[in-house]
Symmetry: C2
C-alpha cells in the first residue's frame, strides 16, 4: 500500500475539477478556530528578542516539555518534541525496528495509510491485524499475528478511520503482547481530546519499557500546519536515546514560533474550549449518522475522533464509486480501499466541514433515490 497523501490528492483533485459544488469530507484538517491564546502567543513571539528566534534545544523548548510532563505526570526527560505526530511516529517506529529483534511492523486493517507507507519506507515487513465488523480490535487477533518476527505494533486510539476508542483492558493486553514478543507498542493518541465515549485510555496508564505514546497539538488546537507533536519514551531507555539521535540528525530541532504559540495555548486555554469543540463535533456526528440511517447505510458509531465509516447498499468503497458520489451527490469521501482490505466496502467521511448538514441531506437524497431506482 502506498502512503496516504497521493490518494488524498487523487480524490481532492477529482472533487476540485467537478462541474458542481462538492462538500469536501476528504482531509482531516480541522475547520474550527484555534484557542485564542495560541494566536496571542504567536503575536507576542513575533515581538520577542532575537535570541528567542534561535535554535531551541533539539528535544524542544524546556518549558513546553515541562508543561506536558506536569499535565501528564511524566518526567520531562521522557519527552521529545517533534515535527508533529508524523515525526513522533517515525522516531518510534524506526527506533523500535532498530532495537528489537524482529523485522515486522504489525498494523491494524483498516490502517491510517501513513503507518503502512512508513513501514515500507524503513524496510520493515508490514503485517496486518484485521479489526472486527464493529470496528473493534480484538487483542486475540493481535496475539495470533505477533511473534518473534514482530518489532513494532502500532495502534491509533481514538481511531482514524473507524472512530473507535480502545479501553483500558485492551490497551493493557496490547502492551502485554508487546512485552511478550519483545516488541514496542506505539500508541498514537492524536485524537485523545475527541473521546465521546469516556472509554479512552492512554497507553501511558500502563507502565512498561515496551510502549511509546505519540501525540500532537494538530487536532486538539486545530493547527495541523504548525507541526508540534511529541513522543513519550520509557525513562532512560535505548528507545529514548535512539529517538533523540535520530531527531537531531534528521531535523535538528522543531520550529520555535510554533512551539512558543503551543506553550502559551497549553497554559492559558480554558477546558471549555475543548468541550465546545467536542460538542460541535458530537452534533455533526449525530446529524450525519441520522442521515446515513435514513439513506439505509451501515456505519460504525464514532466513539472518538471525527470520521465516520459508512457502507451504502450495493455501493462498495472503491475510487470509482467515490468519484461517482462526487459527480452525482456532491459529496467527497475517502474510499475504504485506501485503508486496507477489511473495510474496502466502506467510505470514510471526515466531519471537518461546516457543511456536514448539506452533505448529510445530499447523501440521504441520493441513496434514497438510488434505492428506489433499484427497487422499481
Amino acid at each position: 500500500m502506498d502512503y496516504e497523501t497521493p490518494q488524498f490528492f487523487r480524490v481532492m483533485q477529482y472533487a476540485n475539477r467537478a462541474d458542481r459544488d462538492v462538500v469536501d469530507m476528504v482531509s482531516g484538517s480541522p475547520d474550527w478556530e484555534p484557542p485564542s491564546a495560541l494566536r496571542e502567543g504567536l503575536s507576542d513571539y513575533a515581538e520577542a528578542d532575537p535570541d528567542e528566534f534561535q535554535y531551541p534545544p533539539s528535544v524542544g523548548l524546556t518549558e513546553l516539555r515541562e508543561e506536558i510532563a506536569n499535565r501528564r505526570g511524566l518526567d520531562r526527560e521522557q519527552i521529545v518534541i517533534t515535527n508533529g505526530a508524523g515525526e513522533a511516529n517515525h522516531l518510534a517506529m524506526a527506533g523500535g525496528l532498530e532495537l528489537f529483534p524482529g523485522e515486522e511492523i504489525l498494523l491494524t486493517d483498516p490502517v491510517y495509510p501513513y503507518y503502512a507507507g512508513r513501514a515500507n519506507f524503513i524496510n520493515a515487513e508490514p503485517r496486518f491485524a484485521p479489526v472486527g465488523p464493529d470496528g473493534r480490535l480484538d487483542p486475540e487477533t493481535v496475539r495470533e499475528r505477533a511473534g518473534p518476527e514482530t518489532a513494532v505494533i502500532v495502534i491509533n486510539s481514538p481511531n482514524n478511520p473507524l472512530g473507535v476508542t480502545y479501553g483500558e483492558e485492551t490497551i493493557a493486553e496490547l502492551v502485554a503482547i508487546a512485552e511478550a514478543v519483545e516488541a514496542v507498542l506505539v500508541s498514537d493518541e492524536v485524537y485523545d481530546h475527541f473521546d465521546y465515549s469516556g472509554r479512552f485510555s492512554s497507553a501511558l496508564s500502563v507502565d512498561s519499557t515496551h510502549r511509546v505514546v505519540t501525540n500532537s497539538f494538530s487536532k486538539s488546537m486545530a493547527i495541523t500546519g504548525f507541526r508540534v507533536g511529541y513522543a513519550v519514551f520509557p525513562s532512560e531507555s535505548e528507545l529514548l536515546e535512539n529517538a533523540r539521535t535520530r531527531h537531531m540528525l534528521t531535523t535538528v530541532t522543531g520550529s520555535r514560533p510554533a512551539q512558543a504559540a503551543v506553550l502559551r495555548a497549553l497554559k492559558k486555554t480554558d477546558p471549555s474550549y475543548y468541550e465546545e469543540v467536542r460538542a460541535q463535533l458530537q452534533a455533526r456526528i449525530d446529524r450525519f449518522t441520522d442521515a446515513l440511517a435514513a439513506a439505509g447505510a451501515e456505519y460504525v458509531e464514532p466513539e472518538g475522533a471525527f470520521y465516520v465509516m459508512a457502507r451504502f447498499p450495493e455501493f462498495p468503497g472503491t475510487f470509482e464509486n467515490v468519484e461517482r458520489l462526487i459527480d452525482e451527490a456532491g459529496v467527497a469521501g475517502m474510499p475504504g480501499e485506501a485503508f486496507g482490505h477489511s473495510y474496502e466496502e466502506w467510505i470514510r467521511f471526515a466531519l471537518v466541514s461546516p457543511r456536514v448538514e448539506t452533505a448529510a441531506d445530499r447523501l440521504a437524497g441520493y441513496f434514497d433515490g438510488t434505492t428506489e431506482g433499484n427497487q422499481t
Copy 2:
C-alpha cells in the same frame, strides 16, 4: 566522530559554570535583528483564517517555492522546503547514498561535525579530504580520494569552520568529480549571504544531474530557530523523488507559521538589510583578526561566513586548552579537534556576539602575557 551539539554543550556548560564573565563565541546563532518584514509576516499570520493554520503542501508553501525559484532562476518543482538546512542535507545525503552505487560519503577535514555524524547515522563510511594550510580545498585532493566507493561528496561554502569560499572553478571541478565517480555533490550554501570576497559561486551555476544545493534562511534572516531551509534537486530526478518521499514519511511537512514569515521577509526585505549585517560582521572580523595578530596568533582570513579559525603559539586547540581560555581569559571558542584532525591545533571563534571587541582585547592581553611569561 560524534555530532556537534554534545561537544558544543560540553563547552557551553563549562563556560556557564565558570566563576567569571565569559564571552560566548561557541555557537553559530546570530545575535542581530531579523528583517522587520519577518516580524510583520509572523504577526499578520497570527490573525489568519483557520484554514491557513492547516497542513501546507508536503514540499512547502507553493508561493515560497515560487519566490525562491524566481530569484534563483529555477523551476519550482526542483525545490523541497525543509526543516532547516539540517533536514535538506539529510535528504540529499541519505538519498545519494541510496541511489548511487558507493557506500562512502566524502567530507572535508576540518568538517562541520553534523555531516560526519549524519554519515555515521545513515551507515555510510565517512572519508575525509584534508584542506590545505590556507584553508582551501584543492579539487585534486578530492579527486584522489573519490572513486567507485563514493556515493556522496559534501561541501560547505562559505565554509564553517574555516570561513573560506570556493570559487567558480573549484565548484565546477567538484561537480565534474561527482559525475566521473557516479556520486552526488551536495553543496551546503547556508552562508551565501556572508561572502566578503566576491568569490563565492553557487553550485547552481553548474548544470548537472549530480549536484544538490542546500540552503536555509537561518543565518541570512537570523532565525536559526524557525527551521526553514530548502534543497534544490536536478529536475525530475530520482534524487528529487527520493527526497520528497523521505520528507513526507519522516516529517510530513514543515511548520507553516515559519514559512509564512519567511515568505513575507523574502518578498519585502530591502537588500540594504543584508548589506548592513554583512558590514557589521566585516567590522567584527577586522577587529578580531587585528587582535589575533597582536596576540601573535595565526589565523585563516575569513572570506565568508562568521567564524575565525586561529592558532595561538604553543596552545593547541584541545578541549583542555579551550577550558583554560574560558577560565583564564574569559573567552569561549570551539576546539579545533571537534572538527577533525587537520586543524586540531586551532580554535574556532564565532563572531555572533556584540562583545567581539571585549573578546579581542582579552585574547590579546592573555596571549601577550603568556608569551612574555614564556619568555622570561
